[in-house]
């Protein structure tokens, strides 16, 4: 119902208009209805006076206008321009003045005109209309014969003009003030809207939980979106902050937080201490996911016009906290291990192993006594004391002094049990200490395990794999990948251990160089090999033959061989059969360098080549 009236009075277009235009629309529509009402009233009155024609016509007009108004409003919105009314009223009032009306008092209607025009069409045009209207009315009033109104007393007419002037002046002043106030209001409203957009933007984006607490410690309606995620609830406004914390933090923190937050609303809290005594500056909270989260809260007092509030911010620092914890754990662990390591390397390995074994046995034996519950208490204490004492003595003997000190503390504890009958709490404390000692022994053992694995690693790599062979295989692998040509390497007669230490580097370099040479000049791709009637994959063979004081090394590939005209020049520096310089060929230094180095070492190098069949290099080196 309310909506309906609103819709009718605003012509249904309220939302599309500025506030000052809305007022005008409301005004015009009200006048239409009021006018219709007056018209209907006069129509009914005329009818009752027996003036059937005039009353009927008046009523007919009013009902037609009313019907049309609703009909048009239903199908489309209508707007009567603010400009229409001043003209209409101009005509109507002038007609009233000119016709004289009842006792000529209707001329008083003209006093209403300035109010209407100034309001509807503004101060400037309103003044113009009011002035013209006044001129016309004056004409009618003062020029005799134009209307019956001219017959009115002169004094009445001049007063009428005076009042008109006053009404006009006040209308003008009122309109100016009204517009000013409206402008001010609109400006404030848009400023507020702008500020709200920014605040919302901040509160929706910020990753911290931000909120204001009222004096009863309920959460205010302005809080950040992240807070909702942290609490796991959407509607936090008006909820008690402490209630949201209850059960999610430890009882101790809960009680402290309550006292702390209440302090903010004391008349004069110790401001300088407030940050320091914040019990929630680092706390663990069960999150909506049921997992513990590390949170840091901070609280500040805020003085608002409505009184004091507490601004709270909260951050989830679980990740950095966990990282720090892990780092610290690792640091502690490695510091302990370094200490152990430092002491271990001064201990004879067999002594240390013996010690670990003994200590483990002692602890296991004691634990068995603890576990079976059957050992007589005083007997148990004696067993404990002797075991701990033995472990301590052995630790000191092998030089694990830090560890020995730890065991010594436990020994003192057990010794006290001999004097005073221990309670289960004492036994518990003792077992905890024992467990820590056992954990430390485990750590030492792990450390030793890693050290010996390291040692085995070194031995394994030097014994199982000949580095020379490794280098050869690696060269073939690399070149094979680069040139996309896989090669079968035959090392069935290659015995790297026959090569004396002093020649190993030379032979390694020579073999790698020869492999490069084969790839660059000799080895054909499978398609070319097929037409030559060779197996698809090229072969390289390396073989060693001991020959008395000499070592013979043979290298052979089954590539296309070296052209006879180039054969005599391959060992010349700067000679190359490759057309261009690449990564693997073309510099012409490879083979000349090989020959030169073999000869420097007192050996010989010879080359045989059969074109289309392959190349063989024979190297002879003195063994001694």
């Amino acid at each position: 119902m309310r909506k309906f009236f609103k819709n009718v009075l605003y012509s249904g277009i309220q939302d599309r208009l500025a506030p000052e235009d809305q007022v005008k629309l409301l005004f015009i529509n009200s006048i239409i209805f009021f006018g219709l009402l007056v018209l209907t009233f006069f129509g009914v009155r005329d009818l009752s006076h027996g003036d059937m024609v005039l009353g009927g016509v008046t009523l007919a007009i009013s009902s037609v206008v009313l019907a049309l108004f609703f009909l048009i409003r239903v199908t489309k919105t209508i707007q009567i321009g603010a400009w229409f009314l001043p003209f209409l009223m101009f005509g109507f009032f002038t007609f009233l003045t000119a016709s004289g009306g009842a006792n000529s008092t209707v001329v008083l209607w003209i006093l209403v005109y300035p109010i209407f025009v100034v309001f509807l069409i503004g101060s400037f045009w309103g003044s113009v209309f009011a002035a013209v209207f006044l001129a016309v009315q004056a004409l009618l009033l003062f020029v005799p014969g134009l209307s019956p109104a001219a017959a009115v007393e002169l004094e009445f007419k001049t007063r009428l003009i005076g009042v008109y002037a006053i009404v006009f002046t006040f209308s003008l002043a009122f309109e100016i003030i009204r517009l000013q106030a409206q402008k001010e209001l609109t400006r404030t409203a848009s400023e507020l809207a702008g500020a709200k957009v920014q605040t919302d933007g901040i509160l929706n984006t910020v990753t911290e939980g931000i909120f204001l607490l009222n004096p009863d410690l309920t959460i205010g309606d302005q809080h950040s979106h992240s807070l909702k995620a942290m609490v796991g609830k959407d509607d936090l406004t008006g909820r008690s902050f402490l209630e949201e914390l209850r059960g999610r933090i430890s009882e101790k923190d809960y009680a402290a937080a309550k006292d702390y937050l209440d302090m903010f609303f004391l008349p004069d809290p110790p401001w300088h201490l407030m940050e320091e005594i914040n019990p929630l500056s680092e706390t663990t909270i069960t999150g909506p996911d049921g997992l513990p989260h590390h949170m840091t809260f901070s609280f500040r007092s805020v003085e608002l016009s409505t009184g004091r509030r507490v601004l709270g911010t909260v951050r989830d620092v679980t990740e950095s906290f966990e990282l720090n914890r892990k780092l610290k754990e690792e640091e502690d662990r490695s510091a302990r291990q370094m200490k152990h390591l430092f002491q271990i390397i001064h201990v004879k390995p067999e002594l240390l192993l013996q010690f670990l074994q003994d200590a483990d046995q002692e602890i296991t034996a004691v634990n068995r006594h603890l576990k079976d519950q059957k050992t007589d208490p005083s007997q148990l204490i004696e067993e404990l004391f002797q075991a701990v004492h033995a472990v301590k003595g052995n630790a000191a003997l092998v030089g694990l002094s830090a560890f020995a000190a730890r065991v010594h503390a436990l020994e003192n504890m057990v010794a006290a049990f001999r004097e005073k009958k221990p309670l289960w709490q004492d036994f518990l404390e003792m077992t905890v200490q024992l467990s820590l000692i056992q954990a430390e022994l485990t750590e030492i053992r792990e450390l030793l395990g890693r050290m010996s694995a390291f040692q085995r690693g070194i031995e394994a790599s030097s014994a199982d794999q000949d580095l020379l062979l490794l280098a050869l295989e690696k060269a073939i692998d690399q070149l094979g990948t680069d040139t996309k040509l896989a090669v079968d390497l035959d090392i069935s007669e290659f015995q790297p251990h026959l090569i004396p230490e002093k020649h190993r580097k030379l032979i390694k370099d020579v073999l790698v160089q020869l492999v490069r040479n084969s790839y660059a000049h000799g080895l054909e791709h499978p398609s070319e090999r097929k037409t030559a009637g060779k197996p698809g994959r090229p072969r390289i063979r390396v073989a060693t033959t001991p020959a008395g004081p000499l070592l013979k090394l043979a290298y052979w590939d089954d590539g296309r061989g070296i052209a006879p005209e180039a054969l005599s020049r391959v060992f010349e520096a700067g000679f190359s059969t490759a057309a261009s310089v690449g990564l693997h060929a073309g510099r012409g230094v490879g083979l000349s360098l090989v020959k030169q180095r073999v000869e420097t070492a007192g050996g010989r190098l010879s080359l045989r080549s059969v074109q289309g069949k392959g190349v063989a290099f024979d190297i002879t080196l003195p063994l001694s």
Binding site: L380, Q425, S435
Partner: protein, 157 residues
């Protein structure tokens, strides 16, 4: 591991048994347990601990004691490990966790809701790393059970 984290649990165990079954369990000498050791129990309630110490507190019962305790509550003799037994142990462990919480108020500790593991010779996965585990056996007039604690103290190592 700090003994002050453990004692509230022991007191809670004593309180809960007295309250629910009018039994006075006796704490016996504690001993060490290896991580991979499979315990000779049939049903366990596991409570997770987080905060300034991390780890597990496990209450383990043999089948006959669990069944007897169930019989006390339901008034009917039991000889199978059915839902009633699981519920009884669950309820008992819940009360123990709740009571222990009060004793741990001074620490920054969070205690998880207990979960129940059932099955002969079941195994508990303890926290990784060198976390020592201590078992405190209890004896009652109706049988033995145990409280095992494996806590890694992350504030003071």
């Amino acid at each position: 591991m700090n003994i002050r984290y453990i004692t509230p649990f022991i007191e809670a165990v004593e309180g809960a048994f007295d309250q629910m079954f009018q039994l006075q369990p006796q704490a016996l000498t504690p001993y060490l347990v290896k991580k991979e050791e499979i315990l000779d129990w049939d049903i366990s309630g596991i409570i997770g601990i987080a905060g300034e110490a991390r780890g597990l507190v496990v209450l383990s019962f043999p089948a006959d004691l669990a069944q007897e305790l169930t019989a006390v509550l339901t008034g009917q003799a039991k000889d199978t490990m059915d839902e009633d037994v699981t519920d009884t142990v669950g309820e008992l462990v819940n009360i123990i966790a709740g009571n222990a919480k009060k004793g741990l108020e001074e620490f920054r500790l969070l205690i998880s809701l207990p979960s129940i593991v059932q099955g002969h010779h079941h195994q508990v996965t303890w926290p990784s790393g060198p976390v020592p585990i201590i078992t405190i056996p209890f004896s009652t007039s109706r049988g033995h059970f145990s409280l095992s604690v494996g806590l890694e103290n992350i504030i003071t190592t």
